[in-house]
Each structure stands twice: as C-alpha cells, then as structure tokens.
Symmetry: C2
Subunit: 299 residues, 2 copies
C-alpha cells in the first residue's frame, strides 16, 4: 500500500467548532465518532451550554475564548449564523496575530497551518468580506433539520450528503485539498462552486422553500388547524426553523431570493388562471410538471 500524503490522510490535530448548535454539535459528534480529529474544542458564548455539550460527549473541551483557541487549533469551523461568520473569522485572526505580537510568541506550527471554514447557507457576502483571507475557504454542508440546539445533534447528519465548497481564488492547492478531505471525513460528498453560483442555486433549493413554507403556515387560521392532514404538515415542516437564523440567510441572499419569490408568484398565477378559466388541460400540465420534478428527487 502506498503511503498517503500526511495532510490529507491523518486526522486533523485540533478542530475548533464555533457555535455548538445542531450543525456544530453534529459536526463535533461526527468528527469524534469517525476519529477524524484528535481534539475537538467547542467555542461559544455560554460556558454552561458548552459544559453540557461536553458532558453529552460531543466535544473534548469547551471555551468562550475564540482568540485563545485560535492559537491552538489547526482548523476552525464557523457554525454560527451567516451574518456572524466574517466577524468570527476576524476575531480569530486578530486574536491570533495580536497575541503572538504582544507576547512576542513565535508562530506555532498550528497557527501557520490554520485553516478556516464555515457551514453558512449563503456564501457570497461571507466570501467577499473575507476576500483578503486566503486560508478562509467557505463551505456549505447541505444537511440540517428544523430542530435546534446540540441536543438534536446527530453524528450521521452529514453522511452521504453534499457539501458545496467555495474557496477563494487565492486559496492554496494544499488548503483546497485539506478542505475537501475535512468535509469528506464526516461522510460528505464535495463539489466546488463560486459563491454566487452557490447562492443562486440555494435560493431556489433551500431559501425559497423556507419562505414558501413560512408563508403557507401563516395562512392557517386557528379554526382550520384540526382540518390539516399530513400534506399540510409536510409542506410547512421547515417553517418551524429559527426566525433569527433565517432572517440572516434571506437578507444575505436578497437578490436571488427575490428572484425566486417572483418566479413562485408567477407559477401560482399560472395555476390561478388555469383554475379561473376551468382549463383542465393546462392545470393538469402544471401539476404534471410538479410531479415529474418531485419524482426525480426520489430516484
């Protein structure tokens, strides 16, 4: 057997996960279960929550000091809301460089090879804000749940799912390979896209469905609740997601999401017109398009 390249084959030394919620907690669990990291640090603001996550066996250590952790980590994953990622990366880099500078400390092997990535659902604004940070390589693991908190963490959340990678043009080949291997180490397939291509696609496959589900759930009057069936429940399931989180996602992908909403409005108008005219052929054709499209997803 050939000896694989050490960086791509050995587990990451020390992975810090900033934001230990559903995604961060699941990532921590997957890394530990698959022995894909030697040490997993959970970083957050609430020490008691981190302690609970540690007791739950998700992380090896909890810390509220991102700057300090940045000196020891080899890889930091930001699993915070999308509008907090760039700020978090700056905090980590500033803490790292200032502590090195003020203490006269040498750059450690860890800090020299520090790789920064994230799990945000929108990539354009984050990657633009961090265009000058060649070792930040954006990522979006397409896996999730409407549930929240590390209590719902699942080590198998990422298995077989797709992770979109959006590295900067300035990213080194070595970092690109490490990024791929990292997300693959928790069971994901990876694909590389530009941030804008990612955001344009995800507007249609994730952000628009969320708006649609929330809008549909909003049309339900209290007296009609008992008359809902599994169809209404399925169609509105994602509306249970965190409004704060989704406000950030939608505003950070505003242009693409607005295009998606307009397309949805136009399609609804086509349905309304066909029903108004009693045009069974057109209506059936519209329903058939939806059916065919939906069925390809189960193949």
């Amino acid at each position: 057997m050939s000896q694989p390249h050490p960086i791509s084959s050995s587990p990451e030394e020390t992975v810090a996960i900033v934001g230990v919620g559903l995604i961060g907690g699941s990532l921590a669990a997957a890394l530990r279960q698959r022995k894909a990291a030697k040490w997993v640090i959970g970083v957050g603001r609430d020490a008691s929550r981190l302690e609970a996550a540690q007791h739950a066996g998700l992380i090896d250590e909890g810390s509220t000091d991102l700057a300090e952790v940045a000196r020891r980590a080899t890889l930091i994953v930001f699993c915070t809301p999308v509008d907090k990622v760039a700020e978090g990366v700056r905090t980590a880099l500033f803490g790292l460089s200032s502590s090195l500078f003020s203490a006269g400390l040498p750059l450690t092997a860890n800090s020299l090879q520090l790789l920064l990535t994230d799990a945000g659902s929108v990539k354009g604004p984050i990657c633009a804000a961090l265009a000058d940070v060649p070792n930040f390589l954006g990522a979006h693991p397409i896996a999730g749940s409407h549930r929240q908190g590390f209590e719902a963490a699942d080590a198998k959340l990422f298995e077989g799912k797709l992770c979109v990678l959006t590295p900067q043009a300035t990213a080194s080949a070595n970092d690109r390979v490490r990024l791929e291997r990292f997300w693959q180490s928790v069971g994901m397939r990876t694909v590389t896209m530009t941030p804008d291509d990612h955001d344009s696609a995800l507007a249609m496959t994730s952000h628009l469905p969320h708006v649609v589900a929330a809008a549909l759930a909003g049309t339900l009057s209290p007296e009609n609740r008992s008359l809902t069936g599994s169809g209404f429940r399925d169609t509105t399931r994602v509306a249970a997601g965190d409004p704060d989180l989704w406000t950030g996602i939608l505003l950070n992908n505003a242009a693409h999401v607005m295009d998606g909403i307009e397309e949805m409005q136009q399609r609804l108008e086509a349905f309304r017109t066909a029903i108004k005219l009693g045009n069974a052929d057109v209506l059936k054709q519209l329903l058939e398009e939806g059916r065919v499209s939906r069925e390809t997803l189960d193949q």
Copy 2:
C-alpha cells in the same frame, strides 16, 4: 351491560367500495381487520385489478357491475375521483331501481336501508348534484398519502384521523348515526359541517398546499436537483400526487382555491417587500408567524 342499538353497534352487513385504490383499499383493509363489515365488495372497471386486490386480502369479492352490487350492499362508499362520485351514485341508484322494476323484484331489506357515502376531498358540487338523494351522506376522511394504488393500502391509514361529514338537510337521523358509526368503525373521529364550510377550510389546509408544493417543485431546474436537501423534499412531497385526481379537486373547489392562492401570493409579496427593503424586523415577524402557526400543529 345494556344491549346497544342494533344498527349502530353491529357491523355493516355488506359494504361495497367503489374505487379500490389507496383510500378504497385502505378502507377495505380497515373494515376487514376491525371486523366492521361482514362482507366487503370492491367495485371497479378492471377485473384483473380487483382480482389482485382480492388476492392481497383487501376485499372479499370483486365486481365490475355496480348496479348489481347496489342490490346486495347495505352501504356503498365511493372512493373514486371527486368528479366521478355523483355519476357513480346515479349509476348505483338507477341500476338498483331499474333492475327491481324490470324484474318485478321486491325491494330487499338491504336495498331499503342502503346508505351511500364517499371519500371525496371536495363536498359542495357532489352534495349539490345529489341534493335529491337523502340517503347519500357525503364524507371526507382526512387521511391519505401521495402514493397511489391498493398496493400502498394501509389498514391503519384512518386511525385517529378526522372525518368530516356533510349530510344533506334531508338525511334521516338514523342515516346520520349510521354514517358516524361507519367512519368511527375504522378508527376515525367525526365532525359534521356544511359542504361549503368544508370546502372553504380544505381549500386552505389541503388544496392550496398541493398547489404550492406543485408550483415550488416546478421551479426546480435539473441542474439544481443535486443541491436540494430534506427541506425541499418535505416542502414538495405532496406534489407527487396524481395530476388527474388533483385537477378534479382543484376545479371542483375553484372559488375557494383561487382565494387561497391570492392570499398566498400576498404573503409572498410581503416577504419579497421586506427582503427588498432589508427590513429585518418585518421579515423576522413574518417568519415568526409561520413558525408559531406550524408549531401549534405538533402540539
């Protein structure tokens, strides 16, 4: 123990189910499993399908002759598409009366107490078309699946679910009680409503969600398929339903469904405007309304 009233407590003698698909097949399975009918006849156009349903243990007997079956049945349930129910009831009644008349046969005990009901998702047009048939009492068991055919039949499909009953004003008290007991005998709760109140509510809880899911599924381009996650799948699941069936449902409930689509379009416009203006407060409020509404369904 007191002796219960024979009509309400004893199983139905002979139940005919017209249309042995997912709903009809599940109803047959439930009736047999719960011993709520002594004999279950499946009625359809395709003798080989009925034979297969009989071999699958769903029905005691299959028949392609509704008029003949109408002479023997004590209760007929029409599980056909909504635009075929009234026609089916007429066929049964005409076959029954003409065969009695032409053959000079006496009215049997069965035919004298024949109760007709259905499982259609829209009640207004059916009940209006059969306003002169006091022993037709409309019903809508709110249970289903996007799957089709008796192969997907499930004897537990109706358990704990709600069945809306829409009896004519001219229906006898005895028939009303029998109708309730019948749907309760397969595990359902029952509620009585006017056909229009039912159709107005179901437009919002079932028909609009179907349109929304189909429209959303229709926005998915082939190149974006691999970038969908569980959210897109959940939100569009019902779009896999039979386009023929749903064309009938939507056209038979046109006015209420058009109102629902307009309300949905207006809600989407509110989202679009909030995103366009970058108004995080309004956007969060809209998302919060959807979340609260959705979460009440899981309580």
